[in-house]
């Protein structure tokens, strides 16, 4: 029995739409899942983030806090190929709206200025990851090999990209299925 390539997917600063679009592959999912071994993923919901010997690391979402930054670096270190899914991972996406403000201004506007209810406090647990000064696309943090934009990318374009990779080719998304929205 041949060893199936290990695929890990992570969900960073994004809305889960890319993963939903992946699930929207419907019966084609069976075809894909037959050819890969899905390890860490919001879909499997394993909590341990063991990325070892990943062939293909897939990232949904932009990088906006220290934890996400670390996940991206670890996934890159462990993966032969990294694919960015969706506008947030590829361009930064809707999250970059916050780049007009500093993290301090955001926390103030979100948690300090609005009147808090009785017993409520602004989140200040030291385990909470800190916001980065700006939200950025994944390829501004680590090298990305394959970009699949779209908000969300259509099941069709995800299927195409995965199919090319599993077939040993580098995907070049044809203009008719390439889209940014």
């Amino acid at each position: 029995m041949t060893v199936k390539p290990k695929v890990a997917t992570v969900w960073l600063e994004g809305c889960a739409g890319c993963h939903m679009s992946f699930l929207d592959l419907d019966e084609r999912l069976l075809d894909i899942l037959g050819k890969i071994q899905l390890t860490v993923s919001p879909i499997t919901d394993f909590k341990d983030y063991d990325f070892s010997e990943t062939t293909l690391g897939i990232i949904e979402g932009a990088v906006g806090n220290e934890e996400q930054e670390e996940v991206v670096h670890r996934l890159r270190r462990c993966s032969s190929l990294v694919m960015a899914w969706g506008d947030c991972a590829v361009f930064g996406g809707i999250n970059t709206l916050r780049n007009q403000y500093t993290p301090g201004e955001l926390i103030r506007a979100g948690y300090i200025e609005p009147p808090l209810g009785p017993g409520q406090v602004a989140p200040n647990d030291p385990v909470l990851p800190r916001l980065l000064p700006r939200v950025v696309a994944v390829d501004q943090v680590v090298t990305v090999d394959i970009h699949v934009p779209g908000c969300p990318p259509s099941p069709q374009v995800l299927f195409y990209a995965l199919g090319e990779i599993l077939g040993g080719r580098r995907p070049r998304i044809p203009p008719d299925i390439l889209h940014y929205d």
Binding site: F91, N99, R172
Partner: protein, 652 residues
Amino acid sequence: MDNKASISLRIDGRDVTVDEGATILDAARQAGIRIPTLCHHPALPPYGGCRLCVVEVDGAPRLAASCVMPVRAGMDVVTVNERILETRKTVLEFLFSERPHHCMVCSQSGDCELQSLAYEHGLDHFEVPGLNDEFPLDTTHPDLVLDHNRCVLCGRCVRACRDVAGNMVLDFHNRGGRAMIGADLSDQLGQSSCVSCGLCLQVCPTGALYLRHRTHYAVGGKARDRRSVPSVCPSCGLLCPTVNEVLSDHLIRITTPWDNPGAAQGQLCRKGRLDPFRELGPRLSRPMIRNEEGEWAETSEEEAQAAAGRLLAGWIRNHGRSTLFGLISGRRSNEEAAAFRRFMTIALEGARIDTLAGNAFRNLSRLEETGVRGEPPIEAAGEADFLLFLGDGFAQSHPILLSLARKARLDHGAPLIVLGPKNPLGPWASIHLSASASETKNLLNRLANGEAGNDNLEEVRIVAQAWAEARHPLLVLSPEYLAASDPGILHAALALAGRKRTEGKDAGVVPLRPEGNSAGLWGVGAASTEPWNEPERFRGGLVVLDGDELPDADETRALAAAEALAVITPYQIPTWMEKAAVLLPTPTLMEIEGHFASYDGGRSVFKTRVRPAPQGVRPLEDTLALVEDHLRSALKARSDAGGRPMWMEASS
């Protein structure tokens, strides 16, 4: 035709022969070879700003912008290779990086040339990160929005505004990375000298300039989902062809073919391009009658038609028909006018029939009888060397004249003179004399007999001087003067032009009809040749509207004491609702098909329907036929209305 020398060159290994002076892009297009472009637009002068169209010429290290580079004999052009594609990708990346282009949240997505070019070039990511800064959004204009966040500084709008429309409102402001499109001296669009011709909307490749009325339909409003309905604009009688983009029965955009044979290439005025998006009031989609308290209430179609029938029948029984009238808007189609005429001559026989602003018709038809007429076409305004605007209503009735006037000024230095309360030409007017009707008539007479040359007012002396020098002057008579009860200004203008013609000059008077299809309605006999005789004695009848058109002075007097008035209208217009007892809905011009005549009645075209009328809104012809049925049966039935007021009769 000037005979240009032919030039032969090679493009991608093919021999191509073009006229001298052609650009490489022209030559490639002629040979069916596609070169991507962005700032280039076939209807505008070339600019060479974006560099997307680069090609390799004779293997030179520096690529050339094909949209501006003229061909030379023996040139060897390559339009695609690795280096060219990389350059184009870089150009696109830089364009994206200069403004915050977030296609994922952009309502233009799917209908944007920048985006299509990026798709075409397989740009699946950007190495130059995009901007997150926010650029200004100018929403001060009633019709246009300028969103600098989407602008790529291609300058198409600048060239359209300056070189085609002749308005010179838009231009580049600042330089380099700070360059921005701006209006006038960095004014907000709403406070600028913009005349709302909307030409810039038709050329902007990204939708940085867009029509504000369409925004909330724009989400998902992708070009591929739309229908394009060819039609014509019936608003002023020039009958410009239009292309109407419709998305599930919503109007998204109106454009005109660039070879529009009408007044000006590619141009539509505010009336053709923008007004159809304006609602002139709340839409009347169900009939309304007054209830017992005299307040407006919606009712069934049957009930409203019956109420209109009873109302008119009741009046006829008690007072006869001679105090009733029927008025129809000069915007409705010939077919609708014919149905209206039939209704008036059969069902309301004996009542007065007229169009709104019917005095205009009578003033003109009296001229025809005396053989004085012979009017130049409106388009002649662009060729005149002296333009005298009598009254200021032309800017409302025929906004295209604003463009033609500027053209006349720019092309042959024609003095533009406005005699009227307001100056719609703004700074373009050479002289504006804020003259009343009688002052205007007076001045025309004095120009005719040569007295104006030694007037006390310097402006008047200048006008007299310019008039004396003009070789083919044109006088444009605004509709308010054409429809005046006293046609004195029309006659004075004709006399003045006639005097000029005796000097062998080519002078003319253009009398502007109040509405687009006025001539068509007069042609089907919807106007009366008899003047209103004691208009105050009238008490009601039937009015067919399109929107906000106005009655002339005599009609206003006839409407003043209306007691039994049924109004058929697409909108709930307060001034008419004050007078009416019954309101019946009817389609707008966008929702009907039919024939419309050109302003002078010389030409008639068929206008297609752009979108369907709302559910339950019948064609005017049907509504009139149904009211006629009810009117007949009400006249037959003997019922006693007692001494109740007429509006109660309508609601009983």
